[in-house]
Each structure stands twice: as C-alpha cells, then as structure tokens.
C-alpha cells in the first residue's frame, strides 16, 4: 500500500516539476495591450499601432505606444515586440480601431485573429477612424489611458446614447452570416479630441458609407429595442427634445401582388425634456402627431438610402428569410433595392416634464 502512494506521489512531483518550467507570464514582465489601431499603407502592408499602459504609482499610468508596418497582424506584433521593453499580450484588449481606407478594402482578414485568439473576449469594441489611427492613439491624453477612454466613449454611447449595440461578436457574426450587413461606430479626431461622428455602414466586410449622427438615432430605433434615447424635433414655432425614449420595433413581411412588402412598426414611449416656444402642454397632441409623422417620414427616407446603397444593416433579408419559406437569396438581392418598405409609428408622449 505504502509503495503505491509513494509512486503516485512521485508521479505528481515529476508532473509539477516539468510543468513548472512552462513559460510564465509574470504581471511585472508583460505589457497588456489595451488598444490596437491599424492603418492602410499599401496593397499588402498595414501599419499597426498598439497602446499598452504601464503603471507608475498609485493611480498614475503612462501609455506606451509602439508602431510599425507589416503585412499580417501577428507579423506586426512580432516587430512591435522588438521595440517593447516587455512582451506585448492581448488579454486586456478593449478596443481595436481600423482606419477607413483599410475598411474599404475589407476587414475580414484583420478580424480573424481577434476571433481566433482565445485570450480575446468577444465584447471587444471595434471602431472605424477617419484619418490615421496612429495619429489618434498618440494624441489621446486621458488620465485613465487610451484603452479605457475609447472603450468608455463607445460603451456609454451605446448604453445611454444613440449608438446601436455593436461589438466584436455582433460584427463578426454579421460578416459571417452573409445576410446582414454590419456597421461600426466611426470616430474622428477633432481639435485633438476623439469624437464619434456617425455610423460606418458596410457591405459584407467592406466600408461603404457613413450615416450622420442625427440619423443614427433613427437607425437604432429601427434596428433594436431602445431603452433610453433622445430625439429632437425642430419646427417653425417651437423646438422640442424628447428623452427617455423607449421603443420597440416589430417587423412584418407581407406578400402583395406577388411582391414582398416589409412593414416596420415602431412603438415609442417618450418624455419631453426641452421645449422652446409657446403653448407647451396644450400642444401635446400636436407635438405627438408631429413626432409620429416625422419619425415615420425620416425612417422611410433612411431605409430608402440604405436600399440605394444596397446595404442591409437592419437585417431585412434576415427577417424575410426567417418568416417567409419561399426565400431565395439571389432573387432577394435583386429585388432589395426596389422593395417596398414602410414604417408605421405609434407614439406615446407619457410625460411633459415639470412645466406646463
């Protein structure tokens, strides 16, 4: 009996000893990359910039920035490691930026490593940069570091603002699906400060066009359930801002005269937060009708625009495919730009703030 346990103990000891020699990653001897940015250089090379914070004292950090050009992301990482004082690792990656030129060529080969590497989470934020990502990353002077700064910038706009939900999971699965076209937030450096300037629309993995910020809200309402958004209405007599917009969308697919017709219904519940002009509460009904009409009209315009660009980020094809058994991909793609898509709005103005 005793001999048996001695053998077991020996095995365990050998095992521990051998695996003890496994390459280790001690926190003081690594740099955790928080942001990576990729710029287009020419047909087969990209410029990669990574930012890794290093901590000085309690609460103070300095972003170390490394940049070089290469043809593949890992080749780039290899070159950057030759500059870095400690080895660069991906475990804390929060944001990956691509510049617009690179996005126009197609992003699928650059996001492959993000999906393949098990140490990268799928809640990673992606964004498109107008201009150079290198310039943007070197100009961010935030106390919390570029990585946390950028991911907070994107995330709070998704949670409380008008930006539709987007992260690596959503983007990569939409690229893979071949039926929905993805979108990403687009960021631009303005007076040395990064600012979200709209929504980048993609055809599969290639950047096509950009949606201006005032249409992004509408896009979000048409795209998903909205919890807390804001919307502005400007007329000749008064301006009004509505907030705490709760909206749900419902989509119906109908067949009319042998043609498919898609109908979006938006159910919006909102509170007035700012009102300039006369009348106030008395005009509640009018304001309500105004909003209702305007949202429907602008939504239809937005969808028309998307149809003209032949992109489908709202997932119309996905809805048709899932509801309608006679779906045929080729036929759908031919008819999509001319398809009749309507938007109905059911608007409820539940509160008018604290004034009449």
């Amino acid at each position: 009996m005793r001999r048996k346990y001695a053998v077991i103990l020996l095995f365990v000891a050998v095992s521990l000893f051998i695996n003890f020699k496994m390459p280790k990653q001690v926190i003081d001897q690594i740099l955790m990359v928080t942001v990576a940015g990729y710029d287009y250089v020419d047909e087969d090379s990209i410029r990669g910039t990574v930012v890794a914070p290093t901590y000085l004292e309690e609460g103070q950090l300095v972003d170390l920035i490394y940049t070089d050009t290469a043809s593949m992301i890992y080749e780039n990482r290899n070159k950057l490691n030759r500059q870095a004082s400690e080895s660069l690792l991906n475990g804390k990656l929060e944001v990956v930026l691509f510049n617009r030129e690179l996005a126009q060529k197609g992003l699928s080969k650059y996001i492959d490593y993000l999906i393949r590497d098990p140490s990268i989470g799928t809640q990673l934020n992606l964004a498109i940069v107008e201009g150079s990502t290198h310039e943007m990353l070197t100009s961010i002077k935030a106390k919390k570091g570029a990585g946390v700064f950028l991911s907070d910038l994107i995330e709070h706009n998704i949670e409380n603002g008008n930006m539709p939900i987007v992260n690596l999971k959503q983007f990569s699965s939409e690229v893979a699906s071949k039926i929905i076209d993805p979108y990403l937030p687009i960021i631009k450096l303005k007076n040395g400060v990064p600012k979200i300037t709209g929504l980048a629309l993609f055809n599969s993995d290639q950047y096509v066009d950009k949606l201006p910020p005032d249409q992004v809200m509408l896009f979000k309402m048409l795209h998903e359930t909205l919890r807390d958004g804001t919307y502005f209405l400007e007329t000749k007599n008064y301006n009004a801002a509505i907030q705490n917009v709760d909206s749900t969308r419902e989509v119906e697919v109908m067949k009319k005269n042998g043609k498919l017709k898609v109908n979006f219904t938006l159910k919006i519940d909102a509170v007035v937060r700012e009102f300039t002009g006369k009348g106030g509460l008395k005009k509640k009904k009018e304001i309500k009708n105004r909003f209702q009409k305007e949202i429907s009209r602008k939504s239809v315009q937005l969808i028309k625009k998307l149809q003209e660009m032949e992109v489908d980020p709202l997932g119309v094809e996905e809805i048709v495919k899932s509801r309608y058994r006679g779906y045929n991909k080729k036929r759908f793609e031919e008819t999509y730009p001319r398809m009749e898509i309507d938007v109905d709005t059911e608007f409820t103005l539940s509160e008018f703030g604290t004034r009449r």
């Binding site: 077991i8 051998i18 695996n19 699965s173 699906s177 899932s322």
Partner: protein, 362 residues
Amino acid sequence: MIGAKDSVSSLMVFILITASQVGVGVLGFQSYIIKYAGHDAWMSLPIAGAGISFIIMIMYAMLNHDEQGDIVSIHSFALGKWIGTVCTTLFAVYLLTMAVVVMRTYLEIIQVWMFPHMSLWAVLLFILPLVFYIIGGEFRIVVGVSFFGVVYPSLLILSFFFPLQYARMSNIMPFFDHSIIEIIQSSSLAILNFMGFVTLLVFYPFIQKAQHSQKFAHYGNLYTTLFYTFVCFISFVYYNQAELKEIIWATLGLWKIIELPILARFEYFGIATLFFSILPNIALYTWACGRTLSRQFQISQRKISYVLLAIIFISCLFFDDRAEIGVLNDLTGKVGSYFLFIYIPILFLLHWIRRRVKKHAS
C-alpha cells in the same frame, strides 16, 4: 459476488447515467450536428434522447432477465463462449477508446485555451494517478466522483443565460425548414454525446434492487437531454449557421461574451469546472473496461487497471493534433451509433431467443 458494501442505491443510477453522458461532447457538439438539419438541428436532440431512452429500455429488458446481469454473461449466454469472448473484448476496447477520446479532447482544450506550452505527459502523470485512486478501490468511489461530476458543473447552467442578450431568434427560424428525415440524420450525429450510458451494461449488478432502477435511468437521460437541448438552443440563437460551421468549441465561445469585474475570461473558470465532469467520464469508462476484462478473463481488476492507465497514457501522447483527434471522435461516434441501434437490439433478440429455447428445454 458483489457484497452489500460495494453496491449503491438505485437512485444513484440517475447520477451515473447523467455523469457518464455529459462530457467533452457538450463543448462542441453544436457544430457537427448541423450537418444535415442546419438550423433545425436543435430539434434532433430530443429525438436522440428519445432514442436513447428506447435503448435503455432494451438494455434493462435484457439485464433484468440475465443471471448475472452484465454484458459478459449476456454475451456468453447469447453468443456462446468464443464469439462472446471476442465481442466482450471488442466492447472493452471500445470503452477504453472512449476514455482516451475524452481525456485527449479535454487536454487539447487546455492546450488551446489555457496553456499552449503545457507538457502533455506531465499532466497525464498528474491526472492518471487520480483516476487510479478512483477506480482502484470500490465502485462507490466512482459513484461519489460521479455525484460531484453532476452537481458542480450544473452550476454552469446559469452562465448560459448571459449570451441570451445577443440572441437572434431569426437564426433558427423558420422551424421545420428541413425534413424529418434530415432531423433524424442529425440526431444520429448527436448520439455520440450520450454514449457514456453504455457503461450501464457493466455497472448494473452493483445496483441495489436493480430491476426497479429503470425509472431513474430514464430520469437521468431526460436530464441530460434537456441539458443538451438547452445548450444547443442557446448556441443556435447566439450563432448563425455560418459561424457554427467555422467554430470548433461553440460552448466555450458562448462564455467568451461573459466579462465579470473579477474575472475577465469566464472560459478559464468553465474549463476548470468541467474537469469535474470529465473525471467521472474517464473513471467510469476505465473502470467499466477493467471490470469487463477482469470478469471475462478472471484477472484481478487492479492489475488490469495498471495496464489500462498505461495504455491511456501512451495513446494520449500518440494523438497530437486536431485532425487526428477529430478522426478519432468521428470514428467512435460512428461505431457507437451502430453499436447502440443495431448491435444492442440484435443482441437483445438473440438473448431472448436463447432464453426461450432454454426454457423449453428445461
């Protein structure tokens, strides 16, 4: 004979069946069951579960009427001494292969997700003594480990609610877009995940009032079927079909979306917890293999266990890349479904005929 000290209560059949059915398969079965039925393939899991329940029924009908109530005596009774011995040996080889598959797949996952530099043989030296400790003693220890193998990983069910925030129902709509035939074809691929319950043919004599334990076996199977269907459903609404075709371990991918303040990568926690589910799998397979061989050839089970663990050790080192492990997985899956749905019913018929003949003769 098996003493009262070594037998377990019939309720434990539930634990044994469940523990043996949930293993490495749960980490990646989603991507191969879509081969025939596409987005309808999640429906093939309840069908597979129903099929398994039917097989469990046949097994019990056979075991209840056998003198000793295990595969060795069934084989020798139904097939005669020589063919019986050959079949029993093949069955034992199959069990051992399953143990190797489970072990190697789990180690592969550790290599890919956690420690790429891990030395395989050294880790095996760590795990195999543990397996030996479990199977070297009484059967009750195996049951005890199985109990934890069911209880601990069941907490992971909660983690599958996280990915639901990215669920798209349209990924699995419209329902019944594929024919029933295709769904059944897919369910034949899903069977592999449930294979562990064949050890019932070996541990049956260890159960007190074994004849009345059948309902617990069905409950155990029901639990795993529901569990698999749940995981599959979540993955099917989370991934679209194009993604499922590309991904190797869909379940681990589900965990990639979870980010907790204290734990950036939930997979590490998940993979570690799944060890509780892998261990009873390996232990049960190895134990069943050893038990079968020791019954057949009248050698002490402890001595056989040494040899079996050595074989597992060597074969795990022998398969060293994804493609080979994949081939091994496919092969055991195919053999397994033939074994269950063709061999077991035939064996049942032969056993039944022999019983009839013997009854008439006496």
